[in-house]
């Protein structure tokens, strides 16, 4: 039972981290119709910038400065890159962000090399906040939960209580209304892209010490972010939250329980072939849940897209 509780908490951390990334992505998609393939690359930039800053002045200034720098970089990409491609339509936009993802990975390797960076959580948070049945729960993860919840509440406040938020909300549900924003459309786009990427950068700063800061960190997380917002429903903030938590828990629990295909197959009355080592189905019989855990989200996405293209919470089709 205590393991379930630990898993719930771990899944919550993973889910909330995912949400920090997805909230920016879904915001960008809703406003601009661009599925930003490079979103996870901005996440990576956040981690690297914060690492670089932390080598000079420590972790905390990095936590504040790095997302801002990433946001500015994002805004510049929108202003000088995306806007130019925009007139050719959505497919070139998607291809542009795809190319950008490749490029950012190369640029990161250009400056920081290919090895893992020793980016660590601050000393002050390097202790076990509490432990459940011998499982230590690091204070840094508690801090992550607080930051993520704080971001969510701030977004919720901005979206529901401010003028800008009203406009964005309207755009979430009715993309045509974006056209009615008047002469500020380019500025709003730039702002949204900047804020979205800054959120990704913040997620990167938070995740860097836990998941490791290395050039492959964007690829590892890249496609899972799409999966999350597609499953949640494009353009839905609540959907993004729900899907993030769902996928966080799905992955945590899948990795935690060694359900084997053998048990499943024998329970439905099949018997294990005697010549398992040479049987064509040997891989099926030896399959375990943790083995397939990481691909479950993709399976989920394909199923969602095939049967409910608008996603679990979305109102409009992808």
């Amino acid at each position: 039972m205590s393991l379930v509780l630990v898993n719930l908490l771990d899944g919550l951390v993973t889910g909330l981290l995912l949400f920090m990334l997805c909230s920016g992505l879904t915001l960008i998609f809703s406003m601009m119709g661009v599925l930003n393939f490079a979103h996870a690359s901005f996440f990576m930039l956040g981690a690297y910038f914060a690492y670089q800053i932390s080598t000079y002045v420590g972790f905390w200034p990095g936590l504040l400065i790095a997302p801002v720098v990433v946001g500015v970089a994002g805004a510049l990409v929108e202003r000088y890159g995306l806007r130019r491609v925009h007139k050719h339509g959505h497919v070139p936009e998607l291809i542009f962000t795809f190319g950008l993802a490749l490029l950012i990975e190369e640029v990161v390797q250009f400056f920081w090399g290919k090895s893992q960076m020793a980016f660590e959580e601050p000393e002050i948070l390097k202790f076990a906040a509490f432990s459940i049945a011998g499982n230590a729960f690091p204070a840094y993860k508690v801090f992550m939960i607080f930051v993520a919840v704080g971001i969510f509440l701030a977004l919720l406040y901005i979206l529901t209580k401010t003028r800008v938020g009203m406009i964005i909300q309207a755009a979430l549900s009715y993309p045509e209304t974006v056209q009615n924003l008047g002469h500020n459309v380019p500025l709003v786009f730039m702002g949204v892209f900047g804020v979205g990427t800054a959120l990704a950068g913040l997620a990167g700063v938070m995740a860097g010490p836990v998941l490791g800061t290395f050039p492959g960190m964007a690829v590892v997380l890249g496609s899972i972010v799409f999966v999350t917002i597609v499953v949640g429903g494009l353009g839905s903030l609540w959907g993004a939250l729900a899907a993030s938590l769902l996928i966080g828990w799905l992955q945590t629990f899948a990795a935690s329980y060694n359900v084997t295909m053998k048990d499943v197959l024998t329970s439905v009355g099949l018997s294990e072939p005697a010549d398992l080592a040479t049987s064509a189905l040997r891989d099926l019989w030896t399959l375990t849940l943790p083995q397939i855990g990481p691909i479950l989200p993709y399976l989920l996405m394909v199923l969602v897209l095939a049967f409910r293209p608008q996603g679990l919470f979305g109102k409009r089709e992808t």
Binding site: E120, G212, P290, G293, I295
Partner: protein
């Protein structure tokens, strides 16, 4: 456009082959390993050591065949099997007859197959494969061939040595096995089950699982399982970011007992673990770095560090590859009769610079040597890794590990 591209290709191939032609008084070794992409750091480190080794160990002492120098020619395989085969062709075109590769057993499998076919189809242009790091046991068992030589201890041998040590630790009652879901990870797990079962049947294997390679973002759930299982030790063959992720999560969950690994060192990993890893983190590897095996070894490493302050000597066996190959070439008297060179390598006994005798076993072309259990620590470290102050210190040694182990290799000799 097509013509233009063709002309360009022709020009470039012509240039590169003439560039090679003037250096005909050297014996070239093609180094086919990742020099770009996510594993480039390991490849670069290997290349640096190879270049250093041929200069320091052979060329400074008069080279081979009475004056010819050994030369390392790097080829970037981007850790892809396909690219490796292309680079193999390029290397053969340039007249190179010795191929060195180490990173990824998948690539090694592809290369050994391709070299076998090439040597069969082109008897006048045969090449030898110096495998210095790919440890999939199959390469010297079911898939062995006459042209392949492995200088590292394979996964089985390392596990044999490791379990010799574990067998002596009475406080270990429960062991958790975890690895990446592919041939190497499976080989490690299978070997662990076999040897522990034979040497310490009382040890309970409380977990034996494989996780997808390079796809796990957060190892915390695995760490929780390991904690819940009450394991006294962990054995893992993980490398790269999978090693870092697993190690960090396990340590953060409060695990204080030994974590036996194959590859938890250098290329940023040692620095990342830092003080957290001191105590639990152990490695099984050949080559004695701390304390240095001899004055000569110390001088060798010191010179390397002076030349490459940001690189480590992560794969000490490279020195053995270079020395043994030079010896074999000198014994045969030419570097073109590959059958003779291979026969000279077969069964060769060599006193390695890092304090171990190396025997290239004739029946399967597997090097037999001392294997050490190393501790990740910052005490008594002469040569650290990642310039972190932390390094690997020999804790215990298994002399000539698994020297009489069985092999399924049925070597066909020409």
């Amino acid at each position: 456009m097509r013509k233009l591209a063709g002309l360009l290709l022709g020009a470039i191939i012509a240039i590169s082959s003439t560039a090679m032609a003037w250096a005909a008084d050297t014996v070239k070794i093609a180094f086919i390993d990742p020099l770009s992409g996510p594993f480039a750091a390991t490849g670069e480190q290997g290349l640096a050591h190879y270049r250093f080794a041929v200069d320091e160990l052979v060329n400074k002492n008069g080279g081979v065949l009475g004056g010819k120098k050994l030369e390392i020619v790097p080829f970037d395989n981007k850790i892809s099997a396909k690219e490796s085969l292309i680079q193999l062709k390029v290397a053969i075109d340039q007249g190179i007859r010795f191929i060195a590769q180490g990173n990824s057993s998948g690539v090694a499998n592809a290369l050994t197959e391709a070299i076998k076919k090439h040597n069969k189809r082109n008897p006048d242009k045969r090449v030898l494969f110096m495998n210095y790091s790919a440890v999939d046991p199959a390469l010297t068992n079911a898939k062995c061939n006459f042209w392949h030589f492995r200088f590292d201890a394979n996964a089985d041998i390392k596990m044999d040595a490791l379990t010799d040590i574990i067998a002596k630790k009475d406080d270990i009652k429960k062991i958790y096995l975890i690895g990446q879901d592919y041939s190497f990870g499976k080989a490690v797990a299978a070997a662990a089950v076999k040897y522990i079962g034979a040497k310490r049947p009382d040890i309970e294997i409380v977990g034996n699982e494989l996780h997808p390679i390079g796809k796990v973002k957060d190892f915390t759930p695995y760490a929780r399982k390991i904690m819940a299982s009450g394991a006294d030790a962990i054995i893992t063959g993980n490398w790269g970011s999978d090693m870092v992720g697993l190690g960090k999560s396990v340590l953060a969950s409060g695990f204080k007992k030994p974590i036996y690994t194959y590859y938890a060192a250098s290329t940023g990993i040692t620095k990342t673990f830092g003080a957290d890893g001191k105590g639990p983190l152990k490695l099984v590897q050949e080559g004695m770095i701390n304390p240095p095996a001899s004055e000569r070894a110390a001088a060798y490493m010191k010179a390397f560090k002076a030349k490459h302050p940001n690189k480590d000597m992560g794969q000490p066996r490279i020195a053995n590859v270079v020395e043994m190959l030079a010896k074999a070439i000198d014994k045969v008297g030419n570097a073109t009769d590959m059958v003779a060179v291979a026969k000279a390598l077969e069964g060769m006994e060599h006193e390695g610079i890092f304090g171990s005798k190396i025997v290239m076993r004739a029946k399967d072309h597997q090097a037999i040597q001392d294997v050490h259990i190393l501790a990740h620590t910052d005490e008594d470290i002469t040569f650290d890794l990642d310039n972190s102050g932390f390094g690997l210190k020999v804790e215990s040694t298994v002399k000539m590990a698994a020297a009489d182990s069985a092999t399924t290799c049925k070597m066909k000799r020409p």
